[in-house]
Structures are given as C-alpha cells and as structure tokens.
C-alpha cells in the first residue's frame, strides 16, 4: 500500500473511531484541509455540540404494588433510598415493599427494578416476602406503577446468597438488563446482631 493510501485509510479509521466514540449517528467522511487558500475546510470529525444547559431529567414512574397470586403476596410499595452506612433503606413494616428509587422503574428503558421487604421485624407479623423462597421459574409476578399500568414478569431464578456475597452491582445494575429483582432475607438468624445470614433473591424477566 502506498504511503498516501495508508494515511488516507488511517484517517478514515480515526474519523470512524472518533465519531463512534462521540456518539454521532453517522460516521463523518474525512476531509483533509483544502489545499487552496480560498476554500474553507470542514471538520475532520463530527463532534456533538449542544447548548450547555441542564437536560431535562426523566421522571420515574414508581411501582406502587407487587402481586404474586400463586403465593398470596399482595404488597404496597413505596420508594426508598440509602440508610446512613450505605445499605438499602427498607420500610419498617414487613407488609410494605421498598423500591430503590435511584435505580430503574418498570417503565425505564434500561436497568433493574429492585424491590425489597423485610421477612420479619420485631412487633410485626412475619411478612409476605417470607414466601419469596417458594417461587419457581415461570411463576407470574405483577407490578402496578403509579400511572396504573400493570407490568407482568415471569420468574427466571430464585437464589440464596450469604449476605457478604450478594452481587449488588449486578442486581442494582442500571444498564444492560431490565429485570425485576425481589430481595429479602433467609437462612439462620443471629439474635445478637439482629440479622439473617442470607439474602433470598428472585429475578423475573418482563413479559411485555
């Protein structure tokens, strides 16, 4: 290959790399600066340019109810965040589920919807999420959101993890997955610390 052809193909490769990385929908055709003084050049790469103003943030449509008919689970859901110490916040009452408000909701284009509830708590009856461990693949879960839309999911996996091994980055992922993740506790209970040894996690995929 001649030096000119090599430079031209290298320039094309660079233009494609740079335009792909900058998110441009079309690859820019490379144009070397014009040799004559009268013609003005065009940019060698296509860089996105926009006014530096805040972009509108998508408002979430939070889940408000989770129903697993086969296990008589029907719980109200509220939005929750993070406790001091960095653990997921949860409603005190085991009969109320908490949706992680910083992650996806069922209408999001991408990301997991994470809902958790206590299996039990002092002064409350054992909660409905205590039955999550009885789910089998293929069972139906329905999540109603604040707009009244019912989102249907089919259970894919049910697994138990020692607390310290809970794969939080995968379960709370905001891209590359659109599952419903239900998290609760199980295994042995340590009455000194007031904690269960394990997390029980059901992952369900959208049916719509």
């Amino acid at each position: 290959m001649t030096r000119t052809a090599a430079m031209a193909s290298a320039a094309l490769a660079a233009a494609l790399v740079l335009s792909a990385c900058s998110g441009s929908p079309e690859a820019a055709a490379p144009t070397a600066p014009a040799p004559t003084a009268t013609a003005t050049p065009t940019p060698a790469v296509d860089v996105p340019i926009a006014a530096a103003t805040p972009t509108p943030v998508r408002l979430p449509v939070p889940p408000v109810r989770v129903v697993v008919a086969s296990l008589a689970i029907d719980v109200r859901v509220i939005d929750v965040g993070v406790e001091p110490g960095g653990f997921m916040q949860l409603p005190v009452d085991p009969a109320v589920g908490g949706w992680y408000r910083y992650g996806a909701d069922p209408s999001s284009a991408d990301g997991n919807t994470v809902i958790s509830a206590h299996v039990d708590a002092p002064d409350y009856p054992i909660g409905p999420f205590s039955r999550i461990r009885e789910l089998s693949p293929g069972e139906r879960i329905e999540v109603t959101d604040a707009a009244g839309t019912v989102h249907r999911y089919s259970v894919a996996t049910v697994a138990s993890y020692p607390k310290a091994s809970l794969p939080v980055d995968e379960l709370f992922a905001r891209a590359g997955t659109r599952a419903l993740v239900l998290i609760t506790c199980g295994g042995a209970f340590d009455s000194r610390s007031g904690r269960y040894a394990d997390n029980v996690v059901a992952i369900a995929t959208p049916m719509d």
């Binding site: 430079m7 320039a11 490769a13 660079a14 494609l16 790399v17 740079l18 990385c21 900058s22 998110g23 490379p30 070397a32 600066p33 014009a34 003084a37 003005t40 050049p41 065009t42 940019p43 060698a44 790469v45 860089v47 996105p48 340019i49 926009a50 006014a51 530096a52 103003t53 805040p54 972009t55 943030v57 965040g81 993070v82 110490g85 960095g86 653990f87 997921m88 949860l90 992680y100 910083y102 958790s116 206590h118 299996v119 039990d120 002092p122 409350y124 054992i126 809970l166 939080v168 709370f172 905001r174 609760t184 506790c185 199980g186 295994g187 042995a188 209970f189 904690r195 269960y196 997390n199």
Partner: protein, 276 residues
C-alpha cells in the same frame, strides 16, 4: 496563557491522531475531552493539532465528549472563517490528557476580561450510593464569589479560574452565586438538581461589567454505586417458626415410626392369639 512552538506537525496530522488513537484503544490509554465556549459574543473555530475540529462554535455551547488517545494536544481558536490555524485569536494552548481522565477545556475570560483557555479535569470517581457530585467553576470576568445553597454559603472565596467540588445527597437545592462575603445573588437563585450518580458541573461565565454573567451546565452520568447490601430481616420470627416446624416434623416422623412399630406388634400378637 501557555504557548508551544509547533515543530514537525504538518498539515494532514489527522494521521498523527490516527497513529496515537488505534481503533481498539484500551480505556487506560484513552481520555475524554469536552470543550466549553465561555467567551461572550465571539463565535470561533476550534483546531486540535492543526485540524479543524469544531466549526462555528457558539458561546454557551458545549462540544463533546470526544474520546482521544492520552497525550498532549494543541488547541487553537480562530475566527469562524479561517482556512487554517496559523492566525489564532486564542492559543495554541497545550492540553495534556492522561489515560482514563475526563477533561473539559474552557475558553473563557480571565478576571481582568482577557480571553484564555483553561483545561479542567473532571472528578469521575464513583459516587457513594444515594449521592451525586456538584463541581462549580469560576470562569467569568468577575471577582471571587461565594456559592450559596438555600441562602447559606457552601463554597467561599472561589476565584477565576478555580473550581470546588461537593459530594451531596441526591435532591434539589436552591443555589445562587454572590460576590465573596455577601449574600446578594449575582446569579440565581436557581434550582439545581443533584442527581444520584451524576456529576453536575456549573460554570459561571461571561462578564460582570458587561452584564453578561451566565450559568452553563455540563453533566457526566454513570458514576453511581450500588448499596452495600440489603438487611431485610430483623425480627427472627421466620427462622424461629422454621425451627419449630422442623422440630415438629422430626417429632411427627418419630411418632409415625413408633405407631408403625407398635401396630406391627399388636398384629403379630393377634395372629399368635388366633392360632390358639
């Protein structure tokens, strides 16, 4: 303003970019660059390493992000109709990009009102779960400022061309900018949303004297962390009930075993009795 003599970089140096930007670049070897135009009333063309990169770039606009191989880059600003970068209105200025870094180069007025270019490095370290990050950059022809949240100073004495960064719980704050030591806003108050897992960079740019002070905003997302874990059981009643049920089952199995054994003995006795 730093200057560097361009030695040995000829026209057609898009090939130079190609030589240091392989198609399959490892992230440790690439950097990310955005460019903010913060000089009022002056559209420009932006040239990187002698190549036209931004055409007719308008004040208040943000270009990028652009992924580039780590290294030094010559950035020059010319009039919008220039045919090359030989007569820049600003620069050339050397911008050094380290692998894995995220940068914004800002063309702006210094405190005295003269145009300059300042490269900033953006803090893209992971945010704590539930938090976002706010960076404020003073790139305006104005004296030092305080940044106030809900009327109280959270950043004090910020001068051109410095920056300050705060990690904050996600939420909305009413923010304003005032001359250092005062609380009368020169910018704002405006609602600033601190989004979880997002770096929001607010630039105060323009000229106080000319009445062109304005706020520019850049966001970089994807910095979030997952929570540490989920403690979803604090009573122990489920474990207790499981233990009771298990004990009952063991007792029940033992009782059935006893019943079968005694039933066998009775039947055997009945058969023995019947033979007599």
């Amino acid at each position: 303003m730093r200057n560097k003599i361009l030695v040995g970089i000829a026209a057609g140096s898009i090939a130079a970019l190609a030589a240091i930007a392989p198609a399959s670049a490892d992230t440790a070897e690439t950097a990310r660059l955005s460019v903010l135009h913060g000089i009022p009333d002056t559209p420009v063309d932006v040239w990187v390493n002698g190549e036209l990169t931004l055409d007719d770039f308008q004040p208040g606009d943000l270009a990028g992000p652009l992924d580039l191989a780590a290294g030094d880059y010559e950035v020059a600003l010319t009039a919008p109709d220039a045919t090359d970068a030989s007569s820049p209105v600003l620069g050339p200025v050397t911008v050094t990009l380290a692998g894995g870094g995220d940068y914004t180069a800002v063309a702006h007025l210094d405190e005295g009102g003269s145009p300059t270019v300042t490269p900033f490095q953006n803090d893209i370290a992971a945010t704590a779960a539930g938090e976002g990050r706010l960076t404020v950059r003073h790139v305006a022809a104005a004296p030092a400022v305080d940044v106030l949240a809900a009327g109280a100073p959270v950043i004090e004495g910020l001068a051109n061309p410095d920056e300050a960064t705060l990690n904050l719980p996600a939420g909305t704050i009413s923010a304003s900018v005032a001359a250092a030591g005062t609380t009368e806003p020169v910018l704002g108050p405006a609602d600033v949303t601190v989004q979880e897992g997002v770096l929001t960079i607010a630039y105060a740019w323009g000229s106080l004297e000319d009445g062109s002070l304005a706020l520019a905003v850049q966001t970089i997302s994807g910095l979030h962390s997952a929570p540490e874990g989920v403690n979803s059981g604090v009573g122990g009643q489920l474990a207790e009930r499981d233990a009771v049920l298990q004990a009952l089952m063991i007792v029940g199995v033992a009782a059935i075993a006893v019943a079968l054994a005694t039933g066998g003995v009775v039947a055997a006795r009945a058969r023995v009795g019947a033979r007599d």
